[in-house]
Structures are given as C-alpha cells and as structure tokens.
C-alpha cells in the first residue's frame, strides 16, 4: 500500500513538472488572475472558488485532457536506478540491434551522399527561396531529377534485420528442436492469447454495435447509427479526451471523425501552433536538406501512384518537409528505442512508404498546419513503433510475433502448408503492418481501422487484422504452391471490409 501511494505521488509530481512549462499552465494562471475580479470569488475560500470557476468555464476539462494525454503517451519513470536507455528499451540485446541497424542506415545514407556528391544540408540562394515560396502550394508540379536517388531502405530490408534478431541468453540451438519457433521471429516476447485479445477488444464483440458493420444500408439506422452519432456529438460538446477515446472504439461517424481525433490527440488550433508551423515552413524555404529529396522520391513512388491519394501530393510535401525539420519530434526519442543520428539530420530518416502514414489523414484535415499537428501526434504515439526494434507490446517485433502465433494457433494447417512451400506468412503480411495497412485497404475501411488504433491506444489490432485476412483467404491459400502465387492471392485487399473480418476472427472462430 505504501509503495502504491509513493508511486502515485511520484507520478503526480512527474506530470505536474511536465505541465508546468506548457502553454496550458500560463493560460490557467492568467485565467485565475482574471477570475479574481469576479464577485463570486471570495478571499476566505479562494482555492475552492477558483476551482469551481475552472470547472464551470471548461478549463478543468482542458487540464484533464492534458493530464490524460501525458499519461497515455509518456511512460512513467519506472525505477530510480534505471538509466534512460532502460526507459527506451529494457532489453539490452534489442538496444544493440537497434543501434547497429541505425548505423547501417546512416552509412547507406552517407555513401549515397558521397556517390552523388550532394551535401547533407545547404542554404538556399535567395532566388530559389522566392521561387519555392511562390510554388509552396503546388510543389507536386516540380519535377526534379530524382533518378539517382534511391530510398534508404524498404520494409523488406527491415524484415531481414528482425528475422536475424537473437537473444544471446536464449537457447536457439543449431538444429530444429522443440524450442525453435516455426515462424520467422525467434525472440520469445510476451503476446496476448486469443482469450486475452477477446477481453481486450471487448467493444468489438458480436453483441456491440460497430460502425463498419451496423451502419450498412440494409440495417435501419434507428438500431444503432443514429444513437451513436448523437452520442458522438455529446462527447464533442463535453470536450473530454478520455470519453472520445472510449467512444471511438466502436467507430467514429465520418462527419465527426476529424474533431474526435483532434480531441483524442489533444490537438487544438492555437495561434502558437500556426506560428510554429509557419516557422517550420520558413526553415524549409531557407535550407535544403538531403532528406527532402528522399521525401520527394518517396512521395512520387508511393502516394502519387495510388488511386486514392495522388490528389494530396502537394499536402504531403508540405507536411513531410516540415516534419523532417521539427525538433520537437526529438522529444519522443526518450521512449523510442531508436535514437536520432548525431549528424546534420536530427530527426527521422524516411524509408520507402513513409509518406503513406500521412496520406489517409489528408481526407480529414484540409488546413496544412492542423494536418501537420495531427500527423506529428500520430507519429510520436504510434507510427514510430512500426519501424524501430523494441520489445514494447505495440512494437513491430511484438506485432510480427503476435501475427505468427495467432496464425499457428488457429490455422495450423494453413501455416504448415505455407511454410512447406517456402511462403512464410510474415513475408507477405509484414508490409501491411509496417504501413498500418495504408495503401492496401480502401480508405473508408482504413479510417475505421485507425479509429480503433486510437481508441485502444495500441497497434495490436494490425496483427489481428493480418491474421484475419489470412483466415478469410485460407481456402485459396491452401491451393497455392509457391510464394509468388500466395502473394498474388493476397495482393488486392481493397475490397475487404475490416470490421466483419475482425469480429469473425476474434469472436466467431471455433477454436
């Protein structure tokens, strides 16, 4: 009991210290001073009266949302003796693997630089700056020569690194024995069993209404949809982050989605945020980074070729070029197992397909600065885990292991068959999970999936969906005889409906 109280006071002290320097703190202070002039505030009960004032005017709600956001995003310091690396990643061998992977990426980037003799960063001449400023809203029309650039790495390179991940204290053995995992991932991480997943995703169960299932045209809207939309409007009126997060687990109506996501991510349209975005924009105009060319190349290769997202090409440039210069993103490296490179590129190095994280958000937000903030929040909460090596339960290694475990447990024949023909299932589903299914599903289905990611604050649903897709196409997959044929069966996911697949796999499969 004593220990829990101590932990609680440590948590409170930690959050108070975090919030003390924020804009919200100074706003609250200013509001408190202003409230002193009101007649309701009496000197004898000053503290209670000001608290009541905050409650009535909605400032308490804002503070609650800020505290909730801190609790969700930042892991609390676990033990006083634990060094900061331990907070990033507790397992030493994973830290080492991540470190060597980063060295490899940086080496590849540097060699590309020297090969093409392009500087990592340079200041733009004034003429070029003016030109870029004029063309800011239509950078897609620019056709720079990017033929010599190649993406720094692709998801399949990263998969090879994960396959070779080994715990030195684990008995792997040279020969196949009972302890070798049949899948590609050979580290024994903790993943949830299907019974635990059923409890965790209880709001997706068969007897709870879902958007994505119960809003189909055949279902009369009075049964679920109307009430759900009314509830959504109430949640938005209350401006409560935690309630919004709970609400979105059953899906979010299209009209309310943009505001709900902004509420959950605690992103508000303050003039300071607009100013910050403008500052980043001026940084882009003044300096040209090598990473910019990589971003251009990535957008041209992926989003511009996609039927759904090519219209947003200009937005993608506006967001990603600013993102590569945003130093506030560096804050997330405290709990990310990765570290920023100690060179000019102080940030995230994009890989092939990175722009697909931003593309679906363009459907929701049309103002570049709001789009930018939402993407940045989504990245520092979720997407960074999809391309760094860590033992976190939402990290890509755990997701891969969860996928393989689910498939082996529930579709053992299929798993064995695919393994025998040399088509390990993870080789096909890895690219889906790394991109959070962006670019593979239809956009409305993707947004329903991302609703649940925000609602449960975890990426495990990606692994469950990947297993559910394999379960759905199991009959066809049992008949294939090669990896190429298996990939062909699973090439097109754009006709799939996400929520029925998840429900059937979790709640309606006979085990």
């Amino acid at each position: 009991m004593l220990q829990e109280e101590e932990d609680l006071s440590l948590t409170i002290a930690h959050i108070v210290q975090k919030l003390k320097g924020s804009r919200l703190y100074s706003q609250l202070e200013r509001q408190a001073w202003v409230s002193l002039q009101k007649p309701e505030i009496k000197l004898e009960s000053l503290k209670e009266d000001i608290k009541e004032f905050f409650r009535i005017t909605g400032w308490e709600k804002k503070l609650q949302n800020a505290v909730y956001s801190e609790l969700t995003v930042f892991p609390l310091p676990r033990h006083p003796a634990a060094p900061p690396e331990h907070l990033k990643e507790p397992l030493v061998y994973m830290r080492k693997a991540q470190g060597s992977w980063e060295k490899r990426i940086l080496k590849s980037l540097n060699s590309m630089c020297t090969e093409l003799s392009i500087p990592l960063a340079r200041k733009r001449p004034v003429v070029e700056q003016k030109e870029l400023l004029n063309k800011w809203n239509e950078m897609g029309t620019d056709e720079p020569d990017l033929s010599l650039f190649r993406p720094v790495y692709a998801p399949k390179d990263f998969l090879e690194v994960l396959i070779n991940l080994r715990n030195p204290n684990y008995e792997n053995g040279d020969h196949l024995n009972l302890r070798t995992h049949l899948g590609l991932i050979q580290v024994p991480l903790k993943v949830k069993y299907i019974s635990e997943l059923k409890d965790y995703f209880i709001e997706l169960s068969l007897n709870t209404g879902q958007l994505g299932i119960d809003d189909a045209t055949q279902v009369p809207p009075e049964l679920f949809e109307n009430e759900h939309v009314r509830l959504g409007q109430k949640v938005l009126a209350e401006q409560d982050s935690a309630a919004a997060q709970q609400y979105v687990r059953q899906g979010s109506p299209t009209a309310l989605r943009a505001e709900l996501w902004a509420l959950i991510l605690n992103v508000s349209n303050q003039p300071e945020d607009l100013l910050y975005y403008e500052q980043l924009k001026s940084n882009v105009i003044q300096h040209d980074l090598l990473v910019d060319s990589l971003i251009y190349k990535d957008v041209k290769l992926t989003a511009s070729n996609d039927d759904y997202y090519f219209v947003f090409e200009d937005y993608l440039y506006q967001v990603l070029l600013c993102f590569s210069r945003d130093t506030s993103v560096l804050g997330h490296f405290a709990y990310n197992s990765a570290s920023p490179p100690k060179s000019y590129i102080r940030g995230v190095i994009p890989f092939h397909g990175f722009s697909m994280y931003v593309a679906p958000l363009c459907f929701l937000y049309h103002e570049p600065s709001k789009l930018y903030q939402i993407f940045r929040e989504m990245y520092v909460r979720f997407f960074f885990r999809l391309h760094s090596i860590s033992s976190h339960h939402s990290g890509i290694v755990s997701l891969c292991f969860l996928f393989e475990t689910l498939l082996q447990t529930h579709l053992p024949q299929l798993f064995y068959h695919l393994r025998e023909i040399g088509a390990q299932p993870l080789r096909i589903s890895f690219k889906w999970m790394v991109r959070a299914f962006s670019g593979y599903l239809a956009t409305d289905q993707l947004l329903l999936l991302w609703d649940r990611i925000l609602g449960y604050n975890s990426l495990e649903i990606l692994a469950v969906l990947a297993a559910a897709v394999f379960a759905f196409r199991a009959v066809n997959l049992m008949e294939v005889t090669s990896l190429a044929a298996a990939e062909a069966v699973l090439a097109d996911l754009s006709t799939l409906k996400v929520m029925p697949l998840l429900q059937i796999f979790l709640f309606a499969t006979v085990t």
């Binding site: 004593l2 210290q17 975090k18 003796a81 331990h86 397992l91 008995e171 903790k190 033992s391």
Partner: protein, 229 residues
C-alpha cells in the same frame, strides 16, 4: 526517506542441482547467492535493489543474531517474471522494501538469495548490481524550506505611497520576499520546452514576472534607495 548504502560482500552464485554436475544434461534451475556485511555489524535493512537478468522467482532468507544457526524466510517466491518463458520482466530494475518482508529486518547478519528459473529456454540467469540500503540520518529540520515554499501574502502598499516615506522594516521584508521569489523561480526549472522564446539566462526570466506582479513594490524600493543615499 533517506537511505545509505551498506557495503556488502556478495559471494558467487552456487548452482543447486540434483545428481552429478558433470554427467547430468540440462542446466540448473536454482542458484543461491550469499551476502554478508563484514564491516557493519548486524544492520537494519531498509531496501534491496538489483537488476534482474532472467530470474523468474526470488526467495530471501536471513540469519539474525537472536538465533544464529537458524535461517528465517523473509520473502517467499517473489515473482520477477510473470511468465518464465517470456521476456517480460527479464531485465527490469527492482526494489524490495522492508514492509514487503515476512519477518522484521531489524538486525540482519547474513542474507541468502535463492533464485529460481524453471524454464529451460534460458542459458543463464542471475541478479546484477545488488545493493543494500539501511536507514540514513534524518534530514535537517525544514523550517527554512517552509518559509521558501509558503511565502507571506503580498500586502497592498497603497497606503504607504500616501505617506512621506515607507516603513523601512516593511520594505526590507518585501525585498526579502522578492529575493525569495527569484530563488523559487530559479529552482522551479521545468523540463517542458518554451519553444521559440527559449531564454538561456534564468535570471532574466525571473525578473519579468516580478515586474508585472509587484508594481507597487518597485516604486517603493526606488523611494527607499533615494532615502538611503
């Protein structure tokens, strides 16, 4: 709650195994680590901290001066890894406190840590960075700090301005409070970023809010300065 580390002598881990160590296949699942305190006498143990390395369960037995030949169990099968086959908890930093123990730790001569790892998957298991702490001396009375954290309420100097000169004692106490406030702000460094208005000099940021909140004071200070000259 202050604590002082106790120097200890940790003997190497001894594996317990059934049968002959050389011929039997398989790795031991039980290790015993003995800890003595050669310099201090029987100590009052407050806290034990260590870094786990793939140990699943920990038991601790102590030998006390009351009954020197008997080992008393003070912690039984404390779970460090919820699932011995998984990596969860495998490399965590752990602290064990006096109130978690089954017996009192007033006088401890020797400790015996019994580590168990039933899973055959791991090649080695142990505890690293073992440290033992006892109660430290009480921190000095915090009367001074109380004054810093609960400043006297600011009094309106409006009446003073109407008189010829302000009361010097009053002004000097207010100057003291002003100094104390700057100390408080300097000590209250936060980890949050201020953004583009990053100020590197803490004193500069300390004085600007003061000028806003103590307008009457600055004028009375100037008056005092003139009187002193």
């Amino acid at each position: 709650m202050s604590r002082v580390q106790v120097p200890c002598h940790i003997k190497g881990a001894v594996a317990l195994q059934v049968g002959d160590v050389r011929t039997v296949q398989g790795r031991p699942g039980v290790l015993v680590i003995d800890v003595t305190f050669p310099t201090a006498g029987p100590i009052e143990l407050q806290e034990i901290t260590f870094k786990n390395y793939y140990t699943a369960f920990l038991s601790i037995r102590v030998r006390q001066p009351g009954s020197p030949n008997k080992w008393i169990t003070c912690l039984r099968d404390y779970c460090l890894m919820p699932n011995p086959h998984n990596e969860e908890g495998a490399q965590d930093y752990v602290s064990l406190y006096k109130h978690q123990m089954l017996c009192d730790m007033e006088k401890v001569l020797e400790l015996r840590l019994i580590l168990r790892q039933p899973s055959p998957l791991w090649l080695n298991f142990t505890l690293e960075d073992l440290q033992f702490f006892q109660h430290g001396p009480q921190s000095p009375s915090s009367a001074f700090t109380k004054w810093l954290s609960h400043p006297a309420p600011y009094e309106q100097p409006a009446l003073l301005l109407q008189q010829a000169l302000p009361d010097p004692d009053k002004v000097s106490s207010e100057v003291q409070q002003m100094w104390m406030l700057t100390e408080m702000i300097r000590a209250n460094r936060t980890t949050a970023r201020i953004g583009r208005f990053d100020v590197s000099c803490p004193a500069a940021s300390a004085f600007s809010p003061l000028a806003l909140t103590w307008p009457g004071l600055t004028s009375s200070v100037c008056v005092t300065g003139g009187w002193l000259l």
